[in-house]
C-alpha cells in the first residue's frame, strides 16, 4: 500500500471521526468543517496566518522526520526549539548589526543552539548507548528551566517578569511588504526559511553520500559499521542536524510569530512535530504538506468556534483525533493487509 495513500486514509478517518464527534454533540459537521476551512483560507490575511502557523510545524516536523530516517527518535524537538529560539532572541537583543547580517546571525545562532541541545543526547547515544527518547525528554526540561532562569536574569522585559524584552524591529523576521501582501497577516521570513530547509533536507537525504550513510545507520547500525560507516559520528551528526532544524523552528516562532520569549511555556510545536512527521511519512515534502494541513486546522479552529456553537474543547478533540489517526497510520496498513489476506483466503475457498 502506498505510503501517501495511507496518510490520506488517516486524515480521512480523522475527519470522519471528527464529524461523528460533532454530530454526536449535536452540531452540524458540514458547517463545522466549512468554517474550519474558511477560517484557515478565507482571505489573504488568514492564508498568511495559516502559513505562519505552519512554519514552526514544518521545521519541527522536518527535525523529527530527519531523525526518524536516520533511526533516531528525537522527542526533544520542543526543547531544541526553545533553546534555539532563546539563542536567537539573545543575539537579537544583544547585538547591533545591519538588519540582513543580524538576521543571518540570529538564524545561525538558532540553528546551532538547537543543534547543540540535540548533540548531547546524540553523544550519549553514540558513546554510552543511552536511549535518546529518555535523554531528549530530559533535555526538554533542561532547556525549559535554563530559559526560565536566564530570561528574567538577563533579558527581562520592563514591565513583565515572565517574558523577555521585545525584539527590536530590525531583529524580527517580519517584513512590511510581506505583511501588506497578506493584508496585515503576521507571516514572516520564517516561512521561507522553512521552505529552504525542506529543499536542503530533501537534497541531503536523497541525493548525497552523507544522507545515504545516515540513512544506512538508521536501517541497521551493525551492518553499517561492518560496511565501514563511522556509526558514532553519524548518530551525533544526525542529532546535530535534527536539533538544528528544531532550533530554526524556534527562530521562526520567537522572532517571527512572536516578538518575545515567554518563560514557563514549553512550545507545543515540538510534540506536534512528531505527528507532522508521521503524517508526512517522514519525507521532507510530505512533512511540508502535512504541516500546512495542521496549519489550517490550528488557524481555522478559532473561526469554527466563533461561527458555530462547537465549543473549543470539542475542536481540540477533533484535532487530537486527526492526529491520533495520523499517528496510527501503521494500523491502517495492517488493516489493509488483513483485508487482503482474508479476501485471498475467501477466493481460495471459493475455488
Amino acid at each position: 500500500m502506498n505510503n501517501s495513500v495511507k496518510s490520506l486514509v488517516a486524515v480521512l478517518f480523522g475527519l470522519i471521526a471528527g464529524a461523528l464527534l460533532m454530530a454526536l454533540t449535536g452540531h452540524d459537521p458540514v458547517e463545522g468543517y466549512k468554517y474550519l476551512i474558511q477560517g484557515g483560507l478565507k482571505n489573504p490575511e488568514r492564508i498568511g496566518n495559516t502559513l505562519a502557523t505552519a512554519t514552526p510545524l514544518i521545521l519541527t516536523g522536518l527535525s523529527v522526520a530527519f531523525a526518524f530516517r536516520t533511526g533516531l527518535f528525537n522527542i526533544g524537538a520542543a526543547g531544541q526549539m526553545l533553546f534555539g529560539g532563546f539563542c536567537a532572541t539573545a543575539v537579537g537583543l544583544s547585538l547591533e548589526l545591519p538588519r540582513a547580517l543580524l538576521l543571518l546571525v540570529m538564524v545561525l545562532a538558532g540553528f546551532i543552539g538547537g543543534a547543540l541541545w540535540a548533540v548531547v543526547p546524540g553523544f550519549l547515544k553514540a558513546k554510552y548507548n543511552v536511549h535518546e527518547v529518555v535523554s531528549t525528554i530530559m533535555m526538554n526540561w533542561t532547556a525549559y528551566w535554563t530559559v526560565y532562569y536566564v530570561i528574567p536574569a538577563y533579558f527581562k522585559g520592563t514591565s513583565l517578569e515572565t517574558e523577555s524584552r521585545q525584539l527590536p524591529a530590525d531583529a524580527m523576521l517580519h517584513q512590511q511588504w510581506l505583511s501588506d501582501m497578506f493584508q496585515g497577516s503576521y507571516i514572516n521570513f520564517g516561512f521561507f526559511i522553512a521552505v529552504i530547509a525542506v529543499l536542503v533536507v530533501a537534497f541531503l537525504i536523497n541525493k548525497t553520500t552523507l544522507g545515504y550513510e545516515l540513512k544506512a545507520v538508521g536501517f541497521n547500525r551493525h551492518a553499517s559499521e561492518y560496511a565501514g560507516i563511522a556509526v558514532k559520528r553519524s548518530i551525533v551528526l544526525s542529532m546535530f542536524i535534527s536539533g538544528g532544524l528544531a532550533g530554526l523552528a524556534g527562530v521562526a516562532q520567537y522572532a517571527g510569530n512572536a516578538s518575545s520569549l515567554q518563560i514557563g511555556v514549553m512550545p507545543s510545536q515540538g510534540f506536534d512535530g512528531i505527528a507532522v512527521a508521521l503524517l508526512g511519512i517522514n519525507a521532507p515534502v510530505g512533512v511540508f504538506v502535512s504541516a500546512l494541513f495542521f496549519g489550517i486546522l490550528y488557524s481555522g479552529r478559532g473561526f469554527m468556534n466563533a461561527m458555530t456553537e462547537i465549543p473549543p474543547e470539542i475542536a481540540d478533540s477533533i484535532i487530537a483525533i486527526i492526529i491520533y489517526f495520523a499517528a496510527t497510520s501503521i494500523l491502517i496498513e495492517r488493516l489493509y493487509h488483513k483485508l487482503k489476506l482474508r479476501r485471498a483466503a475467501n477466493k481460495k475457498q471459493g475455488e
Partner: protein, 370 residues
Amino acid sequence: MKKGVLSLISLALSVTMLAGCGSKPASEPSGGAGGETPKANFMVGMVTDAGTIDDKSFNQGTYEGIKKANEDFKMKYKYLKPAGQTEADYSKEITNLYDAGYKFIVTPGFKFETAVFKAQDKYTDAKFVIIDGTPNSGEPDAPPVVKENTVSIYFAEQESGFLAGVATALHVKDGQAGFIGGLEIPPVQKFNWGFQQGVAYANENLGTKLVINKENVVYQGSFDDVAAGSQLAAQMYDRGVNVIFAAAGGVGVGAINEAKTRVQNGSDVWVVGVDVDQYQDGVYEGDKSVILTSAVKKIDHAAYDMIKAEMEGKFPGGQTLTLDATNDGIGLPENNPNLSDDVLKQVDEVFNKIKGGEIKVSAEQGDLIK
C-alpha cells in the same frame, strides 16, 4: 518526490472535498455596525488566557460574569481558546470573534496587552475590556495606551490579601503561615505583600501570633504544575506551617490536594484560596473543606459591570479602572463556613477601615518578604 506529490494531491483533494460541502458563503457581519448604539444584536466575545475555561480563576470568573450579564441582558456570548500564548495566537482569536460579529471583546489577563493594543486600532468599531493589564506596544518603557474603545481594569489585590491575612491570623491565632505563588508577577506579588501586611496588622492590633518565615514564601514559577504545588505544600507543612495562602492557579490545586490528604490523616492544616471562592475545591468529606477562606477578586463583577455599562450606553472607554474595597471589587467570599462569627465580625471592621481609608495597604514590597 513522488510520495510528496501524492500527499500534496491527497491533501488538495480532501480540502476541496470539504470546501465543496459548504456552498453558501457565511453571512458577513457588516462593518461599522457597532458605534454608539449597541443594544440590538449585541454580541459579547471572550478570549481565554492560558488555562481552561473552568480554571477557578480568571477565565472562569470572567466567563461567569458574562453569563450573569446574559441572564439580565440576553445577548449572544461566546469564548474562544487560543492555541498558544503568543500575541499572534491572541490576535488570531480576536480577529475570529470580530469576523463572526462579536464586537464586545473581553480579555482576561496581562498577556493580552499587546494584542489589545493592536486590535483597538485595527477594529475601531469594536470594544475591548482588558482585565489586569493595560494595552501597550510591548516595547521597553512603552506608555499604556487606552483608546476610546477600550477599558482597562485592575484590582487592588493587596487589599484582598490583607483581609485574608487578618482572617487567617484571627483563626489560627498562634502558629506559622506560608505563601505559594504562581509566577512572580504584580497581581500575585500584591496578594503576597497584602497577606503579609494583614498578618502583621492582626499580630500588632488583634493579639495574634502568626509567623511567616522567609523560607515559606515561595513562587513556584508556573500556574499549572499541580504536582509541584503538592510538593511545596508538603515541605511547608512538614516545617510546621499551619496555613498556606496559595495564589497559584493549578499549583494551588496541588497545595489543596496535599492539605486534604493531611486533614484526612488527622492533622490540622488549612489553605487560603485565591481569586474566587475556592471552598468547593477543598471539600474532602461531606461539606467540610480545607479552604479556610479565599482572597477574592470579583472578576465576574468586572465583566458584568462593563457589559451593563455598554448596554446602558455608558461604556467608560479610554479609562483605567481599579476595583478595590471602596467599590466592593475585592473581599472575602460571602460564605465562610470555616470562620467563626467573631472572626468575620473583626474582618468586617477591618474591611470598613480599608474602605474608609483608615488602613492603607501598600502595593509595594517595602521590607516584606519577596
